[in-house]
């Protein structure tokens, strides 16, 4: 299902033959950290080999991709990089890294679990979520209450998850809702659930879009019984998205439009931008 990378250890240093020359960009800030200007990536493969990956200005893994992947560099990996926006560690998206971005001095701890246990740790989350929904259905009589409760719990999780996300992914500030949508689909979902939903159905004003999830990891092994037909099983996700975005000053409305558990082909989440949250200064400090 998901691409399992080889278990090669991460390189502890950047091998010298792929180190690009430092160039003084127009930025005047020059502390001890390497400033990255525009990098012309040398072609490391001959024309008969698989294509070189797109240039990533910040991600340390792609800068030394030959030494990192070695013999495992294959067509498949190349194809993955071509279509992915995010490097395999889920660290830094290619296009979102601004010019002259600083290298993280200490790489964040490897969040990638051991190969093989990758699938199993996602099963832990799926099963735990299932147990939670079952318990909620027992505690509350009607589905609407369960939905509300899931949304509230998701909200609480979201306001904390955003900090973890920002610390790990190092994305910069998003300038508009489209960038936000990209980051959510290609970085956040990939990092936490291992899937990359697609973004479609933009409204003409650009403030609403749909996330289409081909397979929702939360609903592995799940079937909805007949007496719970109005239960939105994955409502936690809505709460998480809402809570996380509220912490970055965006009020959004998130709801499920289609759900595989109810017979639709895909899972569709509709996100609508309501307004930008301004910080309220206490009276007297305006």
């Amino acid at each position: 299902k998901s691409f399992v990378f080889c278990g090669l250890p991460r390189p502890l240093f950047v091998s010298p033959n792929v180190f690009f020359p430092l160039r003084q960009s127009g930025l005047s800030d020059s502390s001890g950290v390497a400033q990255l200007g525009r990098i012309k990536r040398p072609r490391l493969h001959s024309n008969s080999g698989p294509p070189a990956p797109p240039s990533c200005r910040v991600c340390p893994y792609l800068r030394s991709e030959r030494s990192f992947y070695g013999d495992f560099w294959s067509e498949r990996t190349a194809a993955l990089f071509r279509e992915a926006v995010v490097c395999p560690e889920g660290l830094i998206p290619f296009s979102a890294a601004p010019l002259g971005a600083r290298l993280p001095l200490a790489l964040p701890p490897c969040s990638r679990p051991l190969p093989g246990s990758q699938r199993e740790s996602s099963e832990l989350f799926t099963l735990t979520y299932g147990a939670l929904v079952t318990q909620l259905c027992k505690d509350y009589e009607n589905d609407e209450d369960v939905n509300k409760q899931l949304d509230k719990m998701g909200y609480n999780i979201g306001v904390r998850l955003i900090e973890d996300f920002l610390a790990r992914s190092n994305v910069g500030r998003c300038h508009d809702f489209r960038e936000t949508a990209d980051v959510i689909a290609k970085v956040a979902f990939k990092m936490y659930l291992g899937i990359t939903p697609s973004i479609t159905n933009w409204s003409p004003a650009g403030d609403e879009f749909s996330l289409i999830l081909e397979n929702n990891p939360l609903v592995d092994f799940v079937e909805l019984p007949d007496n719970h037909s109005s239960l939105i099983y994955s409502n936690l996700l809505c709460g998480v998205l809402r809570g996380a975005l509220e912490m970055v000053q965006m009020a959004v409305d998130v709801k499920f439009v289609q759900d595989t558990l109810k017979g639709d082909g895909v899972t569709e989440i509709r996100m609508r931008f309501i307004k930008r949250i301004e910080d309220n200064l206490p009276a007297g400090e305006e």
């Binding site: 679990p113 740790s121 832990l124 989350f125 609480n156 999780i157 990939k190 659930l193 936690l236």
Partner: protein, 158 residues
């Protein structure tokens, strides 16, 4: 691929949710701990089925406990149990010096009285795992200084 952070946050929300939806009487007589433990039991049963699909048959009880301490714990909490003690008569003590679900909470005696809530699910996990491997047990946990904790497993001979 669900990250550790996601499971940790979900677990904390679960504990809060169970306590919020309980009446006063239930909180006092430990119904909430039971609910959390039962959730863990069901999850543990499912997980152990998935994890042991391709492993060899276990030789004896001690082998099973070692599996729990090493592979099971590593897959769930990304580390092994630090210390396993037994009296060879059905009592095992699993000691984890840096229990993942408690590290963010405190590093000593603060909030000690809230710690058992956060251990109930894991006790259920262990009990559920053992139950699907054919071992009936009772699992309790104790904490004296966070984040170290001890899980005591008492095997029931039927």
């Amino acid at each position: 691929m669900a990250d550790e952070a996601l499971f940790l946050l979900l677990h904390n929300e679960m504990v809060t949710g169970v306590y919020k939806s309980a009446d006063q009487g239930e909180v006092e007589n430990g119904r909430c701990i039971t609910k959390l433990e039962n959730m863990g039991f069901r999850v543990g049963q499912g997980l152990i089925e998935r994890f042991t699909k391709d492993t060899a048959r276990f030789k004896d009880e001690l082998d099973i406990m070692k599996f729990i301490c090493k592979d099971f714990w590593t897959t769930i909490f990304k580390k092994q149990i630090d210390n396993l003690r037994t009296n060879h008569q059905g009592i095992y003590v699993l000691q984890d010096n840096k229990f993942r679900l408690l590290t963010q909470m405190s590093a000593g005696k603060q909030y000690l009285d809230h710690a058992p809530k956060y251990l109930a699910f894991t006790c259920g996990l262990i009990r559920g795992g053992l139950s699907n491997l054919g071992i009936k047990s009772i699992v309790t946990a104790e904490v004296s200084a966070m984040p170290a904790c001890k899980f005591q497993v008492m095997i029931q001979k039927i």
